[in-house]
Each structure stands twice: as C-alpha cells, then as structure tokens.
Amino acid sequence: MTMPLNQTLLARASAKLGPQASMAIGLLVLAVLLAMPLLHLLPADNALHVSAYTLTLVGKILCYCIVALALDLAWGYAGLLSLGHGLFFALGGYAMGMYLMREAAGDGLPAFMSFLAWTELPWYWYGTDSFLWAMCLVVLAPGLLALVFGFFAFRSRIKGVYFSIMTQALTFAGMLLFFRNETGFGGNNGFTNFRTILGFDITAAHTRATLFFATVVLLVASLYLGWRLARSKFGRVLTALRDAENRLMFCGYDPRGYKLFIWVLSAVLCGLAGALYVPQVGIINPSEMSPTNSIEAAVWVALGGRGTLIGPLLGAGLVNGMKSWFTVAFPEYWLFALGFLFIVVTLFLPKGVIGLLRKKGEQ
C-alpha cells in the first residue's frame, strides 16, 4: 500500500520539477524497490523490517506493472487493444507452476494427477522438472500462441474492436480449457502448495527477496526496452501504424511484421511477469484467464495514460493499491469505486494520470 502512494506523489512532484528531477525521483523509487528485499532479510523485530506481507503485495503489484507495460506497448504504441493479455500472463504462470509442481512432487507425479489416478505425465509435462526448460516454456508458450494468433489476425487485417473481441474470445476459450481437469493443469484448483524453487524453500526470506529482486529487475529491463523501442524508428513506425495504417502501407511498410513483433514481445513480457507472479502469490488457476482480469489490465493502462510507459505503471499501482485498501475498508463499495474510476478516467482524463500530471507541470 505504501508503494502506489509513493509513486503518485513522486510522479506529481516529478512533473513539477522537470526532467532532471523526475530522473532523480525515478532513481529514488528504484533504490527503495531494490532496498525492500534487503530490508526483508532483517530480523522481524527490526524497525526497518519489511514484512513478507508487504513484500509479496508489492511484488504482486510489480508483476501487474509489467503486464500494464506490456499491454501499453501493444495498445499505446501499436493500437492493438488486447482484452486477452491475462491468457499470456497465465500461460507464463502455468509454465512456472509446472516446474514448481514438479519440484514439490519430487520423483512422483504432481498431487492433483495422482488423485486423478494418472500414472504417467502427459507429453506436455516432459522436461518441466528442468528449470531451464520451464523458463523456455515461460517464453515459448505465450510467445508461440501470440505468434500464431497474431499471424492470422494481422494477415486478415483484423483490427480495432474486432481484434479486442477476438482476444477476449481467445482468453475465454483458454479459461474453459484450463478449467477442465482432463486438460492436465489441475482444473479450477490450479497449482498451489509449492515447496521449493531451485532447491530453495519458497517461503524462506532470502527466496522471497530474490524473487522480488528479479521482479524489479524485469520491470526495469522491460521499461528500458520499451523506452528504447519507443525512441527507435521502430517505435515511430508503430505510432504511424496506430494512426494511419493504410498510409504506412503505401509508404512501403508491411504492418504485419511490425504488429507481430510488438504483439509477441508484449505477450512474452506478460508471460515472464506471470512466471514471477506465481511463486510470489503461491497459486495459479484458470481464473487468471477470465476476461474480466484482462479488461482490468486495460484500465490500468488507460488510467495511467497509454503510450507513456510510465503511466501504465502508475495505473497498475494505483488500481491495485486501491483494491487492496478498499476490499479491507469498504468491501461493498469496491466495485462502485472501480466503476466510477473507469468512467472518470475515460471522460475526464483521456491521457490518464500522466496527462493530468503533465498538464499540472506545465501550468
């Protein structure tokens, strides 16, 4: 809960102080984030100790931030509003989960399989006891799905609303598929009860700290990647693509390749975020693929300001911070708050919080 508040304050201040100051504040936030896992390692009675609760909460929000960033690359820059990013997130999570289940099961089968009386691993589980292969799957599963779906969708020039609705149908189909016990991913119970990761106890403080640290690193890396892309000619082609696809084609660019590249990249980032999310929250189940989750991710981006990279991070932090707070303080009113937030943002903040801050900064 401290995180998002800090972020807003910082961002607001940064808008007032200009680019150098924002850089300084960004570094400060980064320093805080990097310090958190270290502080978690302090003994519990230390005043500076960061509790496991705070660490996992912030870690979870950071994973969402990566999703928001990935979605921003596709939506904010290339105009591809995906209502199915939850699917890629969950696929990455499931790939990681498969590894964790294998670790927990030792030489036997994962628990849910043994009570389905399966005696053999399904083919797609082979090799998942190897961390490296699991990491490959984290990238390959969402990446290949995005590649195939994107290839066909972009080939037939599905765009705008149609694209969004197709992605929604895709994630819905995925959810139904994973809900089935017979699919071999634990049905609606999904994967839980992880024990170790690379031999380290998953509940141990240093494991938590490392996972958190990895999340921060991934976030910073994706932010840097996004920033580099946005400033390259590639980024400008994407913007052009978003605004006037036909014109771009008549300039001799093939939009399919560009869309496919950013779409797959975005999916892979989501998958990586999912892979880091699962060991931190301790569960992955098909409800991560529910269309609602993906729509919510779009709101993070819209709230923060799309096409701004930093904005979506703010949006994800704000909404999730609010959610954590509201569901404790006023559980009945959380949906009202979220609903009004959607409306207010679309009506009054077309450029999101970042737009608002920038405007304030200019005044």
Partner: protein, 523 residues
C-alpha cells in the same frame, strides 16, 4: 413377486370387497412405508371407485394424520375425516410420501381413473399405465380393454397391455404384442424389445424375428424424434442468443458503442420482470399468470430509461472513440451489478414460470417441446420484426440510420443528432430489457446474469457483421445449431471451446462478418 401369488391374493381381495376398503385410509396412515407400498400395489391391481378420492388426495399431498393415527383429508384448508366420524386429536400432520410411494400412487390413481366416466381422464390413465403397469394389473387391463367403449382409450390400453404380454406364456400373444410395440416410437419399447432378441429370454424364433423387425421400426422413429429434438434445441438456443444479442446489434452495431454494460441491461430487464411479479403477487395474485405480459413493457421502459440516462451522462461524450466506450461502459456495468447486489442482495431472486410457460407439448414419444422455449422462439422472431420495422419503417429509424452513417451530414439536414443518439441507445437498451424478460423464464435472475451473456452477444453481432440485423439473426441461429450439433459429439465443454475457436477462424476469413457490404472503403 410371482404372478401366481398375486393372482391368489387378488382373488382373495375380490372376495372381500366390503371389508377391504372399510379402513383403506386408516390402514394406509397406520402402515410403515414398506406396507404402504404393498397396499398401493394391491389397490392398483384391484381398483375401486370408492377409493378414488383417497388416492387423489394422496397424490396431491392432502392426506394427513393425527397422533392417534386417524386419517384425514384436507379440503380447502379444513381437515375432514377420511373415514367415519372422528375428530382430530390435534391439527393433523400431512403425510409425506417418498418417491417410490409417489410413483406407486400415480399407478394406483391411473387404474382407478380407468373406471371413471371421462374418456380424456381414461386416456391419460392408460398412457400412465403404458409406462408403469405392473404384472399384477394384467387381469385388470384385460378386463378394461374388453369393456372400453372409446377407441382411443382402447388403443392406448392395448399398448399398455402389450407391454405386459411380452412375457405371456402363449407365443401368439407375445407375437401380437411385439408387433404392436413396433408401431410405437416409445423409447421404453426399444429396451423391452431388445431383451427379446436374446434366445435365452425369448425361446420362440418367430417372436424373435418379429421383435427384430419391430425394433428396427422403433429405432427409426426414435431417430426422427432425436433429430427433430436436436433441431429444436438448436433453434431454441439460437433464439436465446438472438434475444441476448439484439439490443447489442443496435448499441454496438449501429451506434458503434462497445457496450460492455449490455449484459447488465439484460439483467435489469430480468429484475424488472421480478419486480412486476412481486407487484402481481402483492396486488393482483389472481392475475399472476399474466405477469410476463406486463413485464414486457415494464422491462422495456425501465431499461430504455436507464439506457437513455447513461447515454446522456456518459456515452454522449465518447462517440467516435470506440475503445473508450468499452472502458466506460465496463465501469457502468460494474456499478450496475454492485447496485443490484446492494438493493436486491447477492442471491438470485425467484422468477417463476407461470403455468402457461411450464411443461411442454409431447410431439413424439421421445420429443417434448417445452412451452417456454416455443414461446421464446416466437418472441425472438417478434422482436426481430419489431426492430426491423422500427429501423426501416419509421422516422426514428431513418434518423438513426442517417446519424450512424454520417453524423455531420445528418446534423446539417436538421436531424437532432443528440436526441436520435439518445433514442437509439434507449431503443437498444430497451430491446436488451425485452431479452432479459425472456432470459428470466429459462434461467437464473441474479446480479451476474448479464456477465454470462456478454461474450456470446458480442460474438453474435461480430459474426453476423456489424450493423446487419439479418446477419445477427443468421449468426445467432447458426451458432445455436452448430452448438447443438457439436455438443452430443464432444461434450458441452469442448463444444464451447471449439465453437470459440471456429469463430476466431471464421473472422479471419471474413473480417467483416457474414453479411458485410463490400465497397469502397473511405479512409
């Protein structure tokens, strides 16, 4: 139970008519369930007109007993002694039957009704006995067939008898029975005939051959019934999808608003139905059966008003920004869901089918068409017609089409675009409300009702081609029928997934939907 024993028992009973039913009710009330069952079996083998009121009361759950085990029959709230002139010790308690006893009561009632005057009742009784006649009733049925005056009832009784005659000792009787069963399309006949194919069961080769022929006949009839049933269920599912999607075809298809709150309009329509039903229960319980008819306009106006209010306050600002409408209307839908939860509670509310929407019509022995589904198919077509007329034959429709095609031009021609937008959105919402009334008759009414239809609705509209009413109709029925063809083959879950995958593939092929206008695209 052996037949011989029953016959002896039966003849004994017939010899003692008066003594037997002096205390029927009393006997029944005093007995334990097992004894009650054998009583009912005895009664159905040897019906007695005087016993009819008791059995009717049993069937309707009106038989009661006090602690002294005296039997009473409830008539309009008052307890009358079933026999004699006893006064209840205290308020008698109603007898509760279990399913087995209920089944036996139905058989007993049927055999008693055979003695009645009304041919329609006798026919119904004969049909019941086709399903449930016991070997002990063989003699009774034989006697009834002989004395029956009405041809229809006699035919039905002959069939009921034939079921019992399959195990007759005389091969000729068995053969006739087998031939008769071949005439029916009754699924039970199939099982019965199948057992006769086994030489260990049926020793007579002639009967076995006849059974084979009859079986083939029955199977053919069953297949017809099954296919018709599948076609009907496809149509029915299609009509439901259509009703769910039709409002969206206007708000999304014509106005271009990605109306994620569409599902909530369905939900509000269903809740309006609930409110109307509550009003009827409170103020006009005698006319309760008519509440769906009143609910239609009520739901239409409630949802249309809410839709128009939303249009004026939120959506108006977002025309031309389709993806923003998606987010804003999603927000609206969250608020509406939670609002309904706060007002009506998170639980589902009870919307009862009136009698005329309950039950179904038996078309073939294995094909029942439920009334509510028939009515909904008709209603869906009616709403389509209404929408078509509104859009194509009225001033409003002309204005709507003008505004959606070229807003600025329409404004220049003096079309009040703001008002038209509002009315069109109201119309779409109102039609969604009508859909909600229909949905309330087949499923749950709860705050989440709309959520389960929103994806399907969008798929119907997109598949049909945005802005194409005819396309939506085709898409809805196409999806319904495809779903029902797939479901028996691969199961409901994989069927649903496969349909989604097929739609995704189809849209790749025809991104503009089934009914897209080809033309020069203006950039």
């Amino acid at each position: 139970m052996s037949t011989a024993l029953t016959r002896i028992l039966l003849s004994l009973l017939l010899l003692l008519p008066l003594a037997a039913h002096a205390g029927d009710a009393q006997d029944f009330v005093a007995a334990n369930p097992a004894k009650q069952a054998s009583l009912l079996e005895r009664w159905s083998a040897a019906p007695d007109a005087a016993r009819l009121p008791l059995i009717e009361a049993l069937q309707q759950g009106r038989v009661a007993a006090d602690s002294a085990k005296n039997a009473f029959i409830e008539i309009d709230g008052a307890y009358q002694p079933a026999e004699g002139d006893v006064q209840p010790v205290e308020t008698p308690k109603k007898l509760r039957l279990n399913n087995r006893l209920r089944g036996l009561t139905a058989t007993a009632l049927a055999s008693h009704q055979l003695l009645g005057e009304d041919p329609a009742l006798r026919l119904a009784a004969a049909k019941q006995l086709q399903k449930s006649a016991k070997p002990a009733q063989l003699q009774l049925l034989n006697a009834q067939v002989a004395s029956e005056t009405d041809d229809g009832v006699r035919d039905a009784l002959t069939l009921a008898l034939a079921n019992l005659q399959l195990v007759d000792s005389d091969p000729a009787v068995r053969l006739a029975a087998v031939r008769l069963l071949g005439e029916t399309g009754d699924p039970l006949a199939r099982t019965r005939l199948e057992t006769l194919l086994d030489p260990a069961v049926e020793i007579d080769a002639g009967v076995r051959t006849a059974a084979e022929t009859s079986l083939a006949q029955v199977k053919r009839k069953l297949l017809i019934g099954e296919l018709l049933g599948q076609a009907f269920s496809g149509l029915s599912l299609g009509s439901i999808l259509l009703l769910a999607a039709l409002g969206l075809a206007i708000t999304f298809g014509l106005l271009g608003v990605i109306n994620m709150a569409h599902g909530e309009m369905l939900m509000l329509g269903a809740y309006s139905t609930y409110m109307v039903q509550v009003m009827f229960q409170r103020f006009a319980p005698e006319a309760l059966a008519l509440y769906p008819l009143v609910a239609l306009p009520a739901a239409f106006f409630v949802t249309a008003a809410i839709g128009m209010a939303l249009e004026r306050t939120v959506i108006r600002h977002l025309y031309g920004r389709p993806l923003e409408t998606l987010l804003a209307t999603w927000g609206i839908s969250l608020i509406l869901i939670q609002l309904v939860r706060v007002i009506f509670g998170a639980q589902n509310v009870e919307v009862a089918n009136p009698a005329w929407l309950s039950g179904g019509i038996q078309v073939l022995p294995n094909l029942v068409l439920p009334y509510n589904r028939i009515v909904i198919i008709g209603f869906a077509l009616f709403v389509v017609l209404l929408t078509w007329l509104l859009l194509n034959k009225t001033r409003l429709g002309l204005n709507v089409r003008a505004v959606t095609q070229n807003r600025n031009m329409a404004a220049c021609c003096g079309v009040p675009t703001g008002r038209v937008d509002m009315l069109a959105f109201g119309l779409g919402s109102g039609i969604a409300g009508l859909g909600g009334v229909a949905l309330s008759q087949i499923g749950n009414v709860g705050p989440d009702l709309g959520q389960s239809y929103i994806i399907d609705s969008f798929l119907v509209v997109v598949l049909g081609g945005v802005g194409q009413l005819a396309g939506s109709v085709m898409a809805a029925f196409g999806l319904g029928i495809a779903n029902k063809i797939l479901e028996p083959q691969i199961g409901a879950v994989l069927g649903k997934i496969l349909i989604l995958a097929l739609i995704i593939l189809f849209i790749q092929k025809r991104p503009q939907g089934l009914f897209a206008l080809k033309g020069r695209v203006i950039d």
